[in-house]
Amino acid sequence: MKKNDLKNALKREAPFFMIMPALIWQVLFFFVPFFIILGLSFVTFYGPVIGQIVTFNYYLSLCDNAHVRIVARSLIFAVLNAIFCLICAYPVAYFLARRITRWKNFFLFFLILPFWTNMLIQIHAWFFILERNGLINTILLKLGIITTPLHLANNIGSVFLLMVYCYMPFMIMPLYSILEKLDQRLIESSYDLGANNWQTFFNVTLPLSLPGIKTGLFLVFVPSFGEFVIPALMGGSKHMFVGSLISHYFLMAFDVQKGAAFTIASGLVLLLVFVLCNWFFSKKMRTTKGPSYAAFTPESLPSDVNSGE
């Protein structure tokens, strides 16, 4: 009787058994690390034994010029990058989604490819363009426009350029997806009701593509805020960004606790931007209700880009 009970109970818990691996994986490697970081940023260590001393010193030590400047720089770069990508990507996405009829797959293929190409390779490729004896300098010298080569690489401008380059596909994809799905009848009925091209664009197309814009902005903003590869390689390692500083703390200076505190602090900055941005968009998109995570559904990632046909 008892044995039977146990068997039944086990049978009943089979789904629990099945969902646990993913859940435990997620908890162990996502949530527990988060709490470890949080803990590290508050606790002082005394040798091998963890001292029970809670301190805000790590956070306080972050409040100097250097750290604030690094966070501010990252923030400005990430915001500018997101906006710049949006401005460049929107016309292209619009053109591809709504104007191109022939060769569409061809164009799409070349749009997806950079997304699937390793970022390091992209950075590497740009050296051939920007370096002192790279393509641009060679051409300019040949044309006689300049006499001494320009130093185009290894500065803050080249970092920004590379950020735009590397994250542009992240902006185009969601925009393309949403513009592709946009119902042509809505646009036609706008024309039908007497609106001209611009009025139609600002009153119909643009508002309806807001979810795509939001996704794109997030997809560009988040990784560029935490960027550390581009400044390290293309920036001549001259300026630190949030990502570089985190990696400096954890991998170079081995100052884990300050690093943890900095990670948490910059995470809070990111969260703040999230909240502001969400608030802004929810004001704009009153009609499209839904939890904010909707912006991050991976379906809006490039995987989906072809399915709209």
């Binding site: 162990l28 070349f110 091209n197 991050f296």
Partner: protein
Amino acid sequence: MRQKESSISRYCLPIVTVGLYMFLYIPMIVLIIFSFNSKEYTYQWSSFSLKWYYELFDSIEIWDALKNSLIVATSSVILSSVMGVLLVFYSAHTYAKKTFLLFYGNLVVPEIVLAVGLLSFFAFFSIPLGITTLIAGHTLVGLGYVVPIVHARFLELDNRYKEASLDLGATENQTLMRVILPLLSPALFASGLLVFIISLDDFILSFFCAGATTQTLPIYIFSMMRSGATPVVSALSTLLIVISSILVLIFSSLQIKKTDMLQ
């Protein structure tokens, strides 16, 4: 009934588009060309040579790194797909149906934060960094893609397929294997490919979770670039671009086939 296009949309849009494509592709093309350059220390063309490709194919480290990359990518695809499907299938329509929401964080949090967290976790529990920690990290990212994609597809699937199967006498496991998995397979394949390529390209997480102990291809490329990029990197990059193109081709033909089926 479309109104006459304004000159802006007529001329500016194509120009901007072509400009963007050039912006995206000129560096790549130059890179590919220069991988056949014979001189080592220059960004200027001298003469055609395949020697960097020979060097590439001779190098033990690169193939070792590629092997590691493939092992990690394959394992994380398998692990995240299996775990993701099990989670979605057994949690949907039960008390645990909201659990999938937990996985959205993996995509929202900057990768470097994930990486730092994992590094601290492994340090905290004195787990030696290596290929398994790499797999752990990549699988975590993979779950962030697989779970939402498969979950969305699963919800689109009529729950009646599951019910019909149970109704006809199948157990849950039989239903999963015979009905749900075949129906999910396009989504699963797509997300699997996505996870594969992301794992193959991933640098930040690998850099933190394995560091120098287990070289993956991106880590190898990074360390080579940091020590002054030799043209071998260009040759390797060319090779990787070709591989990516093939994967994208597979991917998009797959998507098109799927949409064909629906029509």
